[in-house]
Symmetry: C2
Subunit: 213 residues, 2 copies
DNA sequence: ATGCCAGTAGTCAAGTTTGATTACTGGCCC
DNA sequence: GGGCCAGTAATCAAACTTGACTACTGGCAT
């Protein structure tokens, strides 16, 4: 699963109605251009693609008010909302060790009810533990441990990462159960988009050194 | 950086001379089809691409001895070896939080001299600490901590992952400095490829449950 | 002897991602 | 008042990835 659809759907949904550049700007505001493949091309592609699939409805709009080519505004459909929630649930549940998906899932977690969020994270932990078990099983093959040489280090890395993820997930569950944050149906939702005239404090801010991809 | 080039270059290099199916088989042997995007199409594409770029030399070979269409054998060139080592060094140094690249880097780490491996891993740790610092800086913005709401959890996730990675890297450095494994120029290298008639014990083994991508 | 399955080897079309580029407005500087 | 830069908005070609498919051999059960 790629993070881009989740991010774009989430952005459009929070706006109610948004054109490509707005989505793009939100993702930059969230720093998503740094930790996901949210390049302009991917965003516009995802919008068109999802419009074709009926997840978004495209309103054709006249030449834009502020320079540039005519723009299209998108609105999420019922099918799109369903898909959005499905992707969100999957991103929280599955242990696929991809930062972008994990981060996006956390970013939108408050769109779910508190109880469900906890349940999904608990399922995530179960998944991590299963995967960990299956790795350690391969790790020690029938003919004694460490015929693997340095290859065993790869498994060790996986196990460490899995443990770290499980530990972090447990912490998050505890915070959520402790009443932190505002979830769906709990009044005033957290709004994480830029309103129409608002400037983006993160735009072209000096980059994190992670970019060394 | 995508892991596929590193994996394919490394596989061809270990074989001396290999055709596509051999590479594909090695990657499956290493389990790479499970933790990286090492699909047949990607492998053949990478081979052709790198041949065009002069990193591999393509020998046109007569119809294969064991069924199927005629096959092409590849051999790594001097430029290819350079590129391979550059990719390998980058995979060990950079903190790009992508499992496939990390895993591939560890898999080939013994192709470097022991001292260099340690140096690269130490640089990796420095990189992680820098990235960590830059995240925690953003984390606590000028107007007091946690105006971020649940978004702060994303940063927390990153910090935890970074710490886990740093800890694991320190452990690996310790093991390497303690004399573990056989590195470049230390006699009998570890061989991780399938010889020509050798059967693959991992082929179609029951999958790890991680596949839930 | 026929059919069919497993293994060997590679190709292809469709979809996605990337990075550069286009196109247009408005403000500012000299 | 002309040039140029910053911002707004989107497109495009090229590269890459995916998953399904082709094509051919040999063995083995019927």
């Amino acid at each position: 699963m790629s993070a881009i659809r989740l991010l774009v759907l989430g952005a459009v949904r929070q706006h109610g109605r948004a054109h490509g550049y707005q989505v793009r700007n939100d993702l930059e505001y969230w720093g998503a251009h740094e930790w996901s493949n949210a390049k302009p091309g991917s965003i516009y592609h995802a919008l068109k693609q999802m419009a074709k699939q009926g997840l978004l409805h495209a309103h054709e709009i006249a030449p834009s008010t502020a320079g540039g080519p005519p723009r299209t505004e998108y609105e999420i459909t019922a099918a799109g909302t369903e898909e959005y929630l499905a992707l969100l649930r999957e991103s929280l549940t599955s242990y696929d060790q991809k930062m972008d998906v994990r981060s996006a899932g956390i970013g939108f977690i408050v769109d779910l009810p508190r109880g469900e969020a906890v349940a999904l994270l608990e399922e995530r932990i179960r998944g991590i533990e299963q995967w960990r078990a299956s790795v350690t099983e391969h790790y020690v093959p029938e003919d004694g441990p460490a015929q693997l040489g340095h290859i065993g280090e790869i498994m060790d890395l996986w196990v460490h990462s899995a443990d770290a993820d499980a530990a972090w997930t447990r912490g998050l569950i505890a915070r959520i159960e402790g009443g932190a944050y505002t979830f769906a149906g709990e009044g005033e939702p957290f709004v994480g988009v830029l309103r129409d005239g608002q400037e983006n404090p993160y735009a072209t801010g000096e980059r994190h050194p992670q970019d060394a991809r």
